[in-house]
């Protein structure tokens, strides 16, 4: 691919250990994702998609290989540095939204900004901007339990982009949604990629969702099986 890769995995390996028994999940995987890319990571259940996503997003560590994301070699960062790195560079979108139930939509979106040296007014402006992007300004005082699944996921997306990270990772973001809401979320992600230039790594086993991506990569038994450019 081109030289402007924002994500670069070289010989990535990840094994889990259970009672001194090694369970290899990823075995020497190479992957480059260019800045502004929109990749869908596909593959059967248990093939290691979530594992790979977690490594790239800096919430887990590889047992082998080298990982460079947004210009940082993640292997070299310690725990706190990695947390600081995540706060700036990655936005997370989860299958189950993972909103904090005791915080309202506004406060949930505000969370990542609390880690940055911003004034209350600056935070407020950014939160409103992010909520406007997902079209939920009118629900900002609602708590998660007062929102539909689709709305919750849109709040979660607002939270993922509010600190303006360059990369978005989404693990089965439509897994808990009905077709209509799923379609809405996918359209939103596509806009974030095209209009705001976010690099997106999407894990899904839904072909319809994967079709929104520009490149599909298939994981099979811990190695990349094939890469398909989506033509539209």
């Amino acid at each position: 691919m081109n030289g402007e890769a924002i994500i670069r995995c070289e010989g990535i390996a990840k094994s889990y250990f259970r009672d001194s028994l090694e369970i290899p999940v990823l075995q020497g995987l190479d992957l480059e994702i260019p800045r502004g890319g929109y990749f869908a990571l596909m593959g059967p259940s248990g093939s290691g998609k979530t594992t790979l996503l977690n490594l790239i997003a800096g919430i887990d560590r590889p047992t082998g290989g080298s990982l460079e994301v947004c210009g940082y070699r993640l292997n070299d960062l310690d725990d706190d540095e990695l947390a600081g790195w995540r706060a700036i560079h990655v936005g997370f979108i989860f299958q189950n939204y993972n909103l904090v139930p005791v915080l309202n939509a506004f406060e949930n979106v505000e969370l990542p900004l609390l880690l940055q040296p911003l004034s209350r007014a600056q935070r407020r402006a950014r939160v409103l901007e992010a909520l406007a992007l997902v079209n939920l300004e009118d629900r900002m005082w609602n708590f998660p339990r007062q929102l539909s699944g689709g709305q919750e996921q849109r709040v979660a997306i607002a939270r993922a982009i509010v600190s303006d990270p360059r990369i978005l990772v989404a693990d089965e973001p439509t897994g808990a949604l009905d077709a209509k809401n799923a379609e809405e979320v996918m359209a939103l992600l596509e806009r974030l990629n095209q209009d705001l230039g976010k690099t997106i790594l999407l894990v899904t086993h839904d072909p319809k969702a994967a079709h929104h991506a520009r490149v599909q990569i298939h994981l099979e038994k811990g190695v990349l099986d094939r890469t398909v450019e989506v033509n539209r």
């Binding site: 979530t50 977690n54 997003a57 919430i59 887990d60 725990d79 706190d80 947390a83 600081g84 995540r86 706060a87 700036i88 997370f92 989860f94 299958q95 189950n96 939204y97 993972n98 909103l99 904090v100 139930p101 005791v102 915080l103 406060e107 969370l111 990542p112 609390l114 880690l115 939270r159 693990d171």
Partner: protein, 407 residues
């Protein structure tokens, strides 16, 4: 208790600092507590009870000590037989009393020298609650003895007269003893003693004593010597001189104790219940700490995905630790405030205990001061730190990848 806080001080300072520049707002913890209302309220309730007991035990000690501390005057000396410790165990012959009274250091008022030779004895009186009888100290005084206790005021009737079996009792005894009223008679030592007056001793130790004429009391008991003498000096500075003088006088061989110190030493009367109370408090505290710990462990377990999410968003381990530590502190502080308020309802309630120096009853009122309430509140925070730390530590160790596993 203050000592317990010292090793925790750096940790508490750090916590405060995290709260000030706290990335995770405290409202998050406050609302999370209310999310689990039942668990929060029952744990806070348990802590409240422990804090209340803690404060009440302290207020009891405070009550006893303020009863004794308010009894002594800075310019008066209690004269005793050497090593007698308390008046009851002492004795003082009449001729020695006369020598003491004639000392040039003794203060006078318009009626004569301010020195009172006194006789003490103990009698059983029936308790008001019907639970039996307890020993009460009877004090026979010379007229000067009444004038020298400036905190004692007559509130009903009149003072006893010399050479008559007349008693004057503390009004406060009414709550604790049966049939305390003007005109009542007691029969002992072959005499009928009539209650002719009621006094108020301003919650000092004299509020636990029955007063009468010294000669009548001695006569009734066929005693030939007094127990002790209270002497007022011309100035507090004269105390050491006077004490030295009576010690050196071969005819006397007596010991003088400043009245304030004499009563302060009796504060020890509260020790046995205080120690019992402290033992109960310690046991309950351990229980309350485990209750808080248990509640917080449950909170951490049920919020594992939430904690993982916060970590994924970029919050560091220390911030999670501080957040849950604060939540535990809030939980316990809630109990602390409730407990201090509960203890306040004991304020002023009068009861009594046995003074193990005289084996007679000392009445006192639970004295719940703001300082004691603050101490109780601090105590609840201590429970919050100790009970909250292990769950907070566990929360900070949750792997981030657990965020992906549900929500």
């Amino acid at each position: 208790m203050e000592l317990l806080f010292l090793p925790l001080l750096p940790y508490l300072a750090w916590l405060l600092w995290t709260a000030l520049r706290h990335p995770i707002p405290l409202s998050y913890n406050w609302r999370s507590l209310w999310q689990r209302k039942v668990g929060t309220l029952s744990t806070a309730g348990a802590i409240a009870v422990v804090v209340a007991i803690f404060v009440v035990v302290l207020s009891l000690a405070q009550g006893i000590s303020s009863a004794f501390v308010s009894s002594g005057r800075a310019d008066q000396v209690v004269v005793l037989r050497p090593n007698a410790r308390v008046e009851l165990n002492s004795s003082l012959e009449r001729d020695r009393a006369r020598i003491l009274k004639s000392s040039p250091l003794v203060a006078w008022d318009s009626l004569g020298p301010l020195a009172s030779a006194e006789c003490l004895t103990v009698k059983l009186l029936e308790l008001a609650d019907g639970s039996g009888s307890t020993n009460v100290l009877f004090r026979g005084l010379e007229p000067a003895g009444v004038r020298m206790r400036s905190q004692v005021r007559l509130v009903e009737g009149r003072w006893f007269r010399p050479n008559l079996p007349e008693l004057v009792l503390p009004l406060k005894m009414k709550d604790r003893f049966r049939d305390i009223a003007l005109g009542r008679t007691f029969t002992f030592n072959g005499l009928n003693w009539t209650v002719v007056g009621l006094f108020d001793a301003g919650s000092s130790a004299f509020d636990s004593e029955v007063w009468t004429d010294v000669e009548t009391l001695m006569h009734a008991h066929r005693r030939i010597s007094y127990n002790a003498m209270l002497v007022r000096l011309q100035a507090p500075e004269k105390i050491p001189v006077f004490v030295k003088a009576i010690e050196d006088d071969k005819r006397l061989k007596l010991e003088g104790k400043p009245e304030a110190a004499y009563f302060a030493q009796q504060t020890e009367a509260g020790k046995p219940i205080q120690i019992l109370g402290q033992m109960i408090t310690v046991i309950l505290t351990v229980g309350a700490i485990f209750a808080a710990m248990n509640t917080m462990f449950a909170a951490v377990a049920s919020r594992t995905p939430e904690i993982g999410t916060l970590r994924a968003l970029g919050f560091r381990r220390v911030e999670i630790l501080a957040s849950f530590q604060w939540e535990a502190l809030m939980l316990c502080a809630l109990g602390g405030v409730a407990g201090a308020a509960m203890a306040l309802s004991f304020n002023g309630i009068r009861t009594g205990t046995t003074n193990f120096e005289t084996f007679s009853d000392v009445g006192f009122a639970f004295t719940v001061t703001p300082a004691l309430m603050l101490e109780g509140f601090g105590f609840s925070l201590l429970m919050g730190v100790l009970g909250g730390f292990p769950p907070a530590w566990r929360a900070s160790r949750i792997p981030v990848t657990d965020a992906m596993k549900g929500g």
